[in-house]
Structures are given as C-alpha cells and as structure tokens.
Symmetry: C3
Subunit: 191 residues, 3 copies
C-alpha cells in the first residue's frame, strides 16, 4: 500500500464519518446513513479521477467502499449522542486536509503544472463534502465558511512547493495535510 | 439488438414518460418537457458509463434520444389530464427496475465484483430520477421514500446472485427487474 | 490558436464575468468570486469533454483558468457599481452563444451526427450558467427564461446546417454564434 493509497483510505474513513453523522442528525435510517457516508468519502476522488481521465479509484479497490460503509455503523449507533455539529466538523477537516494532498499528488503524478495541481487538490477536498451537505439539506460548508476551500488550496500549494524543493515524498505529503488541517483547526477552535 | 439494449431502450422510454409528466405538472412548454424527459431517461446510464469509462451509451445510439423525446409528446398532450402523481410513480418504478439490472449487467460485463455491480445498479437506477426531481423542484423520491434505492439494490443483487448460480442470461435479467419493480409496486399499492 | 480555441477563450472570459458579477451581488469575497467565475467559464466545456471522452480542455490549457480568474478582478472592483442584473445577462448571452457553437463543433469534429451535435452545443452552452446560478442561489436562468436553451439549440443547429451546406469554417461558426446571441439579445432588449 502506497502512501497515497493509505491517505486516500484514511480520508475515506473520516469523511465517511462526517457523512454518517450528518445523516444521523437528519434521523435517516441505516441505509440512508450508509449512502450519505459514501458521498463525501468517494465524491471528491471520483470527480478528480473523472477529470484526469483515470480509472475511478474505488472501482478496483472495493475495500474503499467497505471502509466508508463501516463508518456508517458507529455513526448510526452513536449519532444521536455525539451529533454535536462540531464533531462532524472535525472529521470533515481531517478528510478535507488528506484529500487536498491526494488530489494534488495525483495531478502531479500525471505531469500537470502547479495551477492544475492546486485546483485538483482543492476540488478533491471540497466536492465530497458539498455533495453531503446538499443531500442533507444543509447550506454547504464551502459556501458558509470563509476559510474552507482556502485551507485546501493552501495545503495543496504547500504540498506542491515542498515537492518542488526536492524534499522526499512523505514530507510534502504530511506537511501539506498538516497545513490544511491546521488552518481549519484554528478556525474551529477560535470561534 | 441485445437484451441489454432492449432493456435500456424500454427503461429510457418509461423514465422519459415520468420526466415528461413531472414537467407537465410544472406547466412547462413542449421544449421544457423534452428536456425534462431526457434527464431521467439518460441520466443514470450516463453516470454509469462515465464511472466505468465506457463510451456514453446514447452517443452512438442517437435513437435513444429520439425515444426519450418521443415520450415528451404524450406527456405534453395528456399531461394535464393524467398528471396524477401516482401515474408518474409507476413509470418511474418501471424505469428504476430496468436500469437497476442494466447498470448491474454493464458492471458485470466489465469484470467487476458484487459490490461494484450492486452499487452500479443502484446508482444507474436512481440518478436519472434524482436529476428529474431536482429540476422539477420536488423533494427527490430517493430521499422522500423509505424504500426506493433499496428496491434497486435488491434487484441488482438478485440479478448478480442468479447469474452466479449459472442461470441463463434472460432469467437473472427478468427476475432482477421483477424483484425491484415488485418491491416498489408493493409500496405504491399499499399506501 | 485555432478558431475553436479562440472562441473557447472568449467564451471563458465573458462567462467568467457573468459568474464574477453574480458572486459580487452575493457579497462574496475575492476568493469566492474567483471560484464562481470558474464555474460558468469551464463548467459547460468540462461536461462536453467528459461526455465525449476527450481530455478536459483546460487541463492542458491552464491559461484558460487564468483567463477566468482574471475576470474575477474587475467583477470584484466594479461589482457593486455595475451589478445591475442586466449587465450579467449580456455577458451570459455572449458566453452562451459562443459555447453553443464550440460544443457543436467539437461533437462534429468527433464525427457525430446532427442530433448529438445539437445536444452537445445546447448542453455546453447551458451547463456552466446552471452551476453558477445554483451556487449563487438564484433560480437558474435556463429554468426561468422561456427562450434560453432554445437560443443555444438554434445557434448549434445553424452551425451544423451551414457547415453541411459546405460553407468555409468561419462562416458557420460566426453565423451560429450570431444567431444564438441575436435571439437572446432580442429577448433582453424587448422586455
């Protein structure tokens, strides 16, 4: 399992938790929670792969789907108890930060320049959460929060910049995700 | 014409009728009815083909588009008279059942395993109706009805299971569609 | 730069202006205005390229993105002053007319027949504006205006018909765009 695959898998799980909790707040049943767990988990990466004309990542990694569905179970069991909106926001922040970097990394591997790399990072990080919010009838976080897509963009840019500096692969990867997560964490703690 | 193409064509027509009736209820003009007939008719199959990286099915079968547009005419002429919501729901149920199986069959032909097969069936069956409902400003059936995506999922699963048992092609095909349609029909009759 | 690329570039810029002005009316910040400038600018062409299984046009022309983002600056600076909705509608009309023809031309180059050519023109012209209106929480123009998609459709059909008549490339191109723009202009002036 490569670093990219690992980050994709963790991103899928935490984003699925954000979806499961959002669905739980809407009092959906287990099936609905499963569907809404999938949306943020695979939405961003699916858009990334369609745009870059790669095979959609979960088609040959069906375990990705199982990871996302597994997140529906704790969301269903604990949803009512931990469904403070803030819990959801922290899982969302983690998923966003990881996908900002995986989106950027896939575009970089495909040979694109900084503009496309940063756009792909930002879109991969944002699109799944947008789908989740639309289906759960919430005003999308990306529209409601001043600093959301910006955090993904800066994380993707940091990943690109540090890679350009010639640092070995894991460093730009972790640093990019840490920057994106840090910015969102700061916003969440400060308010 | 293969069984798959035939089922796709019938699914396109009945789903187009559901779209035409929905547009007619909104008092759209003939052009609008044509557009909204197309959405459920080709939406699900388009998503399926994009995700599976196949050529989008209607590009080289433009008669598919003509079939969908043909459904706009009776919807326009009879819409006001037969626009009881229930009529629309029956056409929707038939389209959903057929597309659950064609979606699953295409994924199976492409060599995917049960999880992807069942997901593709469910998505192909649901996505077009979702587009129709969004554009017609209705709360999407898939969100409003407890048993909707579930019916598609069970139909796709039945198609997969019966094919695995080695039954000749038409049996899993008809049985899968019949199961999906039967579940929806039961819900529609019971209420 | 081919005629197609030039028309795509101008369409991107004027459609981006329509997006920037729409975002400005919503009092978004510069980053939000940039994002909403991108939606109409690249949305329609992205859908066209995904459906036709071509490489998404802006991936290898990142200057397209820069053109769209450049439009965000005047929209930000002048937005409050010129944000009469009518200004936005004129830029939208110009983008719609150009993309109706580029959408049709790409489908024609790929060897498709009139039905697909006209559909692709109409979808390319309409989809980006639809995304812009959804994100800005407006009732989409394409649903609110009787003559919108129809104008794109007629422009794409004129492009196809004049090309079939054997006229040299620039004539169908300009005539198709002029017809689509003229129809919308008539509607905008008359009301």
């Amino acid at each position: 399992m490569t670093l990219l695959e690992l980050a994709d898998a963790i991103g899928v799980f935490v984003f699925a938790l954000s979806g499961g909790l959002a669905a739980s707040r809407q009092k959906m049943d287990l099936f609905g929670i499963g569907v809404v767990s999938l949306l943020p988990a695979i939405g961003g990466g699916t858009l990334r792969d369609l745009l870059l004309n790669r095979e959609v990542f979960w088609l040959n990694e069906p375990e990705t789907i199982l990871i996302a569905l597994a997140a529906a179970v704790p969301a269903f069991l604990l949803g009512q108890r931990i469904a403070r909106f803030k819990t959801l926001l922290w899982f969302d922040a983690a998923g966003m930060a990881l996908f900002a970097v995986t989106g950027a990394a896939v575009a970089m591997d495909a040979g694109y320049g900084p503009l496309i790399i940063i756009m792909m990072g930002t879109m991969t990080a944002s699109f799944g959460g947008l789908l989740r919010d639309i289906v759960c009838n919430e005003i999308p976080l990306i529209l409601r929060e001043d600093i959301y897509a910006t955090a993904a963009l800066i994380g993707a840019a940091a990943f690109w910049g540090l890679t350009e500096l010639g640092l070995p692969a894991p460093i730009p990867f972790f640093a990019g995700a840490a920057v994106a997560f840090g910015i969102r964490a700061f916003v969440l703690i400060m308010r």
